[in-house]
């Protein structure tokens, strides 16, 4: 099975997010990008399929943020090929444009299965995988927690429902799957191994084809929420804080 995994770079939420002078976009100047969490799980899902059943795994990312680093890490984790799509604006693309760009790039790979995270946190139209499924007219199932081969040319996916339930859906390949989690956490590779890979392997750099996308929503403003209600903040030493918490619980009859 040929698997393609699509990776999106998103803002690192550990850092402070700043809005740029237009008031409509994130200020990317000092922003740190990380791999989108569910894309990381999509990669793990692909590598698990490779480990257990044999598959080739091509990983595609767009050349902004630390995409190089993330692609080398993917090779170190076990991917067979890493494609860096160049010529992308430094701030990245909206997710619809990203889906269209990935679609063009996938033409040369012709995967049986395309895996991507079900959602990226930084866009209004966050669902790259689902939009790609629609654009490519391929079967699409999102919010999955497991993908397994199921007979010739098919996979069995577990799609999550609320409350811990799931649906088992059999999907005919080629198909696109929007991964929420892999059955196991993304594997760790030591930095030394990534460095080694950086010396011995090369990224396949390909010029991205600029694709016009249909109507996208127009951003009016991006802003930090001002909550109507904010928590009453407690302060003090750990012991004083413990005392304050217990007092609150006592007042509500919740103290044990």
């Amino acid at each position: 099975m040929r698997i393609a995994v699509l990776l999106n770079m998103v803002p690192d939420l550990v850092e402070e997010l700043e809005i740029d002078s237009t008031g409509k976009a994130l200020d990317t100047q000092w922003m740190r990008y990380v791999i989108s969490e569910s894309d990381d799980h999509a990669l793990e899902q692909a590598l698990l399929l490779k480990d257990r059943h044999g598959a080739s795994v091509s990983v595609l990312a767009m050349d902004y943020g630390d995409a190089d680093q993330v692609l080398y890490a993917a090779l170190a984790r076990g991917a067979d090929e890493a494609v860096n799509l160049t010529g992308i604006p430094e701030t990245g693309l909206g997710k619809r444009a990203a889906a269209a760009t990935f679609k063009e790039a996938l033409g040369g790979i012709r995967p049986d299965l395309i895996l991507a995270g079900v959602q990226a946190i930084d866009d209004l139209d966050a669902h790259v995988a689902g939009m790609l499924g629609g654009m490519m007219a391929l079967p699409y199932v999102g919010v999955t927690r497991s993908v397994e081969p199921s007979g010739e040319g098919k996979v069995l996916v577990q799609k999550e429902y609320p409350g811990g339930a799931a649906a088992e859906i059999e999907v005919t390949l080629p198909a696109v799957v929007g991964v929420l989690s892999a059955p196991q956490p993304p594997r760790y590779v030591p930095v030394a191994r990534i460095r080694e890979v950086m010396k011995t392997r090369t990224l396949d750099k390909r010029e991205a084809v600029a694709v016009a996308v249909p109507a996208e929503p127009a951003v009016i403003r991006l802003f930090k929420p001002e909550p109507a209600e904010h928590a009453q903040m407690l302060d003090g030493s750990p012991e004083e804080l413990a005392g304050q918490i217990i007092k609150i619980l006592e007042d509500r009859g919740l103290a044990p």
């Binding site: 139209d125 689902g130 629609g134 007219a137 409350g163 811990g164 059999e170 009016i220 928590a231 804080l241």
Partner: protein, 326 residues
Amino acid sequence: MSPAGQDVWVHIEHLRGKVAGHTYELLGKGREIADALGGQLIAVLVGNEVQPLAETLAADGVLYVEDAGLAEYTPGSHAAVIRALVEKEAPRVVLFGATSMGMDLAAVLAAVLERPLIVNCVNLQVRDGRTVATSQMCGGKLLCEAEASGPVVVTVMPGSFPSEAGLAKSPPPVEVVPMPAPLEAVGMRAIRILEPEPGDVDITKSAVLVAVGRGIQRQDNIPLAEELAGALGGTVCASRPVVDQGWLPMSRQVGKSGMIVKPKLYLALGISGAPEHAEGMKDSDLIIAVNSDAKAPIFDIADYGIVIDMYDLLPALTQALRGRRA
């Protein structure tokens, strides 16, 4: 359906013969939007032998598509049907829940219909004839206001709007629509529903929950939370990353894909308060949040907040509670 293409459609999500609760929120909000646009509010119900569900839906009309092949939800079959309906009737706004089902359908439809997609919307208005949506982004740290002047597909975060206005006082008119799309080509079929694995405890029944998030950092630290829960007479639950790491079973997960809880006390330790987590716990009676980041969104839904490294607080709190008991 009004000819001007100003109608607002709401996808009626249902599972095991029950309408999903957020659907009524969408209908309530959809009514406001339809009125402002001068269109009708139409509920779109797709399934097999589920027509009775239409009775509770507050809408000007229900489009009902029934087929044995639609008995179990698959994104392929349901998207094919809704796509065909939208292509024919051209509604202005199509609303889905930002749920496991709605996310699938909205993304595929927006792509094939070449309509803008706006996801995780928490507020929706009509301004100068345009649809304006406010969406949560970046784990709840940002909001984005965006507009679409023409047709648009929107997913709405459950819990964003009141549900009362979406509940019908009298049954709406139902139009039974013949299958508008063949299902042979959708390339998928539902096999079965997997029930959640029974957990050791049912966190929805616990009055006191000590919830741990990624801030717990390591599996070895879970016992610290368990000790605190023990001292409080409560139970440990978790955010998704903790469960994804395999540190706690799925039955302990709170949020969109986990459990919805409403304990008397929810003590959130090292949880950022992402919308998908908040969905599962924001209606708790008392929320106390402990986080090292003063700007964590959890403080916007908590009653009390403490900015501290949880490892400084945890031992002191457990000890103080034990001291009371002794």
